[in-house]
Symmetry: C2
Subunit: 226 residues, 2 copies
């Protein structure tokens, strides 16, 4: 397992919440686990800190970045603007090879949904949106976008309930959006792309809203039975 692979593995474990927000990342333990010395491991942790996955406190170690209420609020304030901008730029700047790669990811995504393989779904979705960031090809937006994607993955996992039939519906909507996005990107149609991004975003927003404000239990049993 080389350095990049360890980097990716750690990032994946953070994204999938296997390493929970706030969890301490002990250098000695991790370096032993991955069979490398502390020096390169520290560089990996600092790299992840640059991406926003990890918070480092001087002389007190590294922690998986937290997900406080404030962070959640900031996420919902910021994501629409950045996502729209990235979508617009992706439609303008995508290279043919990237569009091809996107189609491949989309087919894997489709298969994962059909197979109800939650982990694969999350991963393919992540790849799809990360690639969109590459297409946009803007070094100033990329760091913010990547940070949003990291927390987007974590938030989605927090609120996703695999047994709820509404979830399957949502996933097929998302899949459909992705198909339309690929078409818009190929056509270089940035206006349609932004509309799709907004629509897609509302899926995520509604998921959390539904969690915070779920269908209430009947508080008047007599009425519920009538």
């Amino acid at each position: 397992m080389d350095k990049q692979a360890i980097y990716d593995d750690l990032k994946k474990r953070i994204l999938t919440l296997e390493l929970e927000p706030g969890a301490a990342l002990d250098e000695a333990r991790l370096s032993e686990h991955y069979r490398i010395s502390r020096t390169p491991l520290r560089e990996i942790l600092r790299g992840l800190a640059g991406e926003g996955c990890v918070d480092i406190v001087n002389n007190r170690g590294a922690y998986v970045s937290s997900m406080s209420h404030k962070v959640l609020r900031d996420f919902f304030v910021t994501a629409p603007m950045i996502y729209a901008a990235i979508g617009r730029l992706a439609a303008q700047n995508a290279k043919p090879s990237q569009i091809h790669e996107m189609r491949e990811i989309q087919e894997k995504f489709r298969a994962a949904i059909a197979a109800q393989a939650t982990a694969d779904m999350v991963y393919c979705n992540q790849c799809f949106h990360a690639l969109m960031g590459e297409m946009a090809d803007n070094p100033y937006l990329k760091p913010s976008y990547d940070r949003l994607l990291i927390d987007h993955a974590r938030i989605s996992q927090t609120f996703y309930r695999p047994r709820d039939p509404q979830m399957a519906e949502r996933m097929y909507s998302a899949l459909d959006h992705h198909d339309q996005m690929i078409a818009a990107i190929e056509a270089g149609d940035s206006k349609t792309m932004v509309d799709l991004i907004v629509e897609h975003w509302e899926l995520s927003r509604d998921l959390v809203e539904y969690f915070v404000k779920p269908d209430p239990l009947a508080y008047d049993m007599a009425a519920a039975n009538s």
Copy 2:
């Protein structure tokens, strides 16, 4: 000189173009210069890479991040949106202690302009806008904003001509904008704030436009004398 001081010093040297875009950052040379070993120096370089000051290529060392035409274009595409968003959030979220600090920076800025101390002007301006980023208090926008500020400083220095009388005018306009911004932030008036940000931005845009498209020399000497 502790680690943070070395970090700041390197960043400052990059911002002031003392270390030019694309310049190689030799680990051995730098570690000797700052009297620390390579291990912490490497961490500093990776930290700066996370901020976007430095590009690191595997097995081929660190370089001051470049300023290609594409980067310049991306800068002008992206900055208005992010600056406006940061301005709006700063007006909404600024804490009294931060407003107080901002006033102090502004007075130093005023003094630097009066004294025509270019380096101090650049530094105070940088501090002013960095503090605005702190006020906005949004972890998703901050990485993009900081990256924009780094290149903004470098671009401004590239196109600034201290001997041009127009430059002094511009600086007084900027100073005036800053005064008005502080008032808007204190009043929590985010609408006015965004208008000011746009106006302030046009100063920077015009500076570069003027450089790219300066007053042409007379090409018809007869006509010029008539």
